[in-house]
Symmetry: C2
């Protein structure tokens, strides 16, 4: 395995040229920032030197005195950012985390200028970042070997698709990866441990708690618990989904059994042919229903969390009417096309349905209401009123038309200003985006 990891490291360590160029850019910006009544500080992977080759993100925090009003901090934060990027002649955007901040595009780098408070007592989530950076830097000074191990774990997680805390991935942030390596000592040790993790596993790198019992109580539904060394009451792994933890466990196990470059650098996939997809669909004997959303550009994080919310809500409406879903998933091109895909197990139902009414020993008013409503369609079943009534909706198509009309429970941006179409079975293949076809390949378990 050592040979493999060494060769991977050669590919992922930033070159000296790259580092020097970055340092120059950072210095230039920091110098400019020093003119203002704030303290600029480099944070993130570049500051810690745990960035992968080709990583073009530079994060600079500008720290305000802790007595500054929130409004002032936000207003000045944006002004300063704007000023800097205008001086540099760089295109920039406003983005939103805890506070709004500017992100500029300069010499091929994404440079974030984020306002925060200079304080030990964290006032907002971003205030923790300087402390995180400080903590990791100290640890890496104490043990220089850890840096390479972090790079390896980052690239591994990137390769298997669990790197990143954003809504798209719901995976491991850079900081989490660093904490794991610090805790277990090496890339390989992390994998060895992870393959045996239970959901809700507790990792406490600085032993801030005496016993694990209290921790469980604090984070009862967590899929993974990593106590933040700079705040013992915070689970640094709160944003990691069960699916990401599970995937990491399995891939760790597979890699240890069969170490292989493909985990770090998965080969590019070629989607199956339309004919292959059609054949796979037919062989399942199910019905495919797709909701196609055409929408304006939506912030990526927001888009993914809204797609999650929307698919859950549509799925519940379908189940509530008695239909059965085999499987569902969503996909987006991250520009203006998003889809929800439902594979139906039961999509047509008879013209009548049985509706349960009140038991005959309960409130007479309820009973009479039921009897009046359903007249001579009612009868007793095991001491309870039941009625055989006309089913409102016998076909999932009709239901989806209503769901689209009402758009109840849809994510905000997917509800407004979107055009929604229903596609069934073969029609879903009207969408020919290569990544969509790869999504279908996974959905249908097509192995080529």
């Amino acid at each position: 395995m050592k040979g493999l990891l060494d060769s991977i490291l050669k590919e992922i360590r930033p070159t000296e040229d790259e580092s020097k160029r970055e340092e120059r850019i950072i210095k230039e910006i920091i110098e400019r920032l020093k003119r203002f009544e704030i303290e600029p500080i480099l944070v993130g992977s570049v500051a810690k030197k745990t960035d992968l080759k080709g990583d073009k993100d530079i994060d600079i925090f500008i720290m305000f005195d802790e007595n500054t009003k929130k409004e002032t901090l936000e207003k000045r934060g944006l002004e300063i950012g704007r000023k800097i990027f205008e001086e540099l002649n760089a295109r920039y955007e406003i983005d939103y985390a805890e506070h709004p901040y500017t992100i500029g595009f300069y010499k091929g780098y994404n440079i974030e200028i984020v306002p925060c408070y200079k304080t030990k007592k964290v006032k907002s989530a971003v205030d923790r970042t300087p402390h995180h950076t400080e903590y990791i830097k100290r640890k890496l000074r104490q043990n220089k070997k850890l840096r390479d191990q972090i790079l390896l774990l980052k690239q591994f997680m990137k390769g298997i698709g669990v790197y990143g805390a954003e809504a798209k991935i719901e995976g491991f942030s850079g900081y989490l990866i660093e904490l794991l390596v610090i805790n277990y000592g090496s890339f390989k040790n992390v994998l060895e441990a992870a393959k045996d993790w239970r959901f809700g596993e507790i990792i406490d790198p600085e032993n801030l708690w005496n016993k694990n019992k209290g921790i469980k109580h604090l984070f009862p539904d967590a899929n993974l618990i990593i106590i933040d060394p700079v705040d013992r009451y915070r689970n640094a792994a709160a944003a990691v989904s069960r699916q990401s933890v599970g995937k990491f466990k399995i891939k760790a196990d597979e890699f240890l059994k069969n170490p292989n470059r493909n985990f770090f650098f998965p080969p590019e996939r070629k989607p199956p042919s339309i004919e292959e997809i059609k054949r796979a669909m037919l062989s399942r004997g199910t019905k495919f229903i797709l909701l196609k959303f055409i929408h304006p550009k939506i912030n990526i994080n927001s888009l993914y969390s809204q797609l999650r919310k929307t698919i859950r809500s549509v799925g519940n409406s379908i189940k509530k009417k008695g239909f059965r879903i085999m499987k569902s998933d969503f996909w987006t091109d991250e520009k203006n096309l998003s889809i929800l895909l439902f594979e139906m197990e039961v999509w047509k139902l008879p013209m009548i349905e049985r509706r349960r009414g009140p038991p005959v020993d309960k409130d007479k008013i309820d009973q009479n209401r039921f009897l009046k409503k359903y007249k001579n369609r009612t009868y007793l079943d095991d001491g309870r009123w039941v009625a055989d009534v006309k089913r409102e909706i016998t076909d999932v198509d009709e239901l989806l038309k209503i769901i689209i009309e009402e758009r109840r429970g849809f994510g905000k941006n997917l509800r407004d200003e979107t055009k929604i179409e229903i596609k069934e079975d073969d029609e879903i293949l009207d969408i020919r985006d290569k990544k969509f076809l790869l999504f279908l390949q996974d959905f249908l378990l097509i192995f080529i």
Copy 2:
């Protein structure tokens, strides 16, 4: 209401001729029984004079000394019965309750000669009957008006179909009806109370318990609790189904609102035409599946309880495979034809199904077994293994063929020596028994 009840009473009180004739027959048999070393005693409704006109059942218990061995009691009991009926030149049969006993058919009467122990400390269930008879006779001597009220309640329950403790009805025995009238004082009072009963209602005619709390504990699942005056630890209503309690509640309520002869003597029903039934079936859009059993004669009580067991077991097998039943019921001509009828809501399923496997943080052996079994049909869903696999049975027809073949969970007599056929949709109308068509009318809620 008084006029109505008086006119009903005229119809249901036994005539003097009838009573005298009965007395002569009873005397004749009792005299003959006195020759043996047992004590004959008249029990049941005739003894209590709570029998309805035309009721042809005479129950005579022959009481053995309580030191008699069980085998002796059973052997001698049968011998004595046989002897009597042979002397009378009467046809007779052996039937089974707690002990075997003889039932003879003499001058139009069904005469049961049942052995029991003469004892206060009840040794077997039948030993209670003489005590029951004694208790009711004493109560009726104290209040002569109760007899008519009992006759009315009996006929009412007969009319609405909840009279009789046997497996077919799972309703109210004669003794229970007597207890209800004794407790509430009159026919009308029973109905007034019953319409407001809760399931699990507690009635304690002799106030043998101080508080209801302990009783609930003793009979936790009872649909109705009537403390037996001759044994406070026995629920005399244990055999009453929830459906019978519910039906009685509703009919009591309806009768009090609109007193009417039809409750006591329901008019004979004419079944709908075959065309009407077909139309009703079609309008529901469901699939009808019928299992037709041709079997030798089976004891009626046994037949009904086996049909209940069998339909539950077949229903569970159907649901387990993912099909959905709208409604089911059974019917028998009580000779050699019985049917189970299933109305299906979902009767066809896709060629694949999703099978849930173990979560990825559990026992590796289970995980590997699952992965090996389903090879490349597996994937992770929310941190748990799932596999899309070929469904064994996609059509409820195929499943029923297997169920019939295996006959697992069928009632004993329905399993052995039976011919079973499957009929679908229109084919179920090959059965033209009038009572079956009335059964279908109720099942399909056809109102003419």
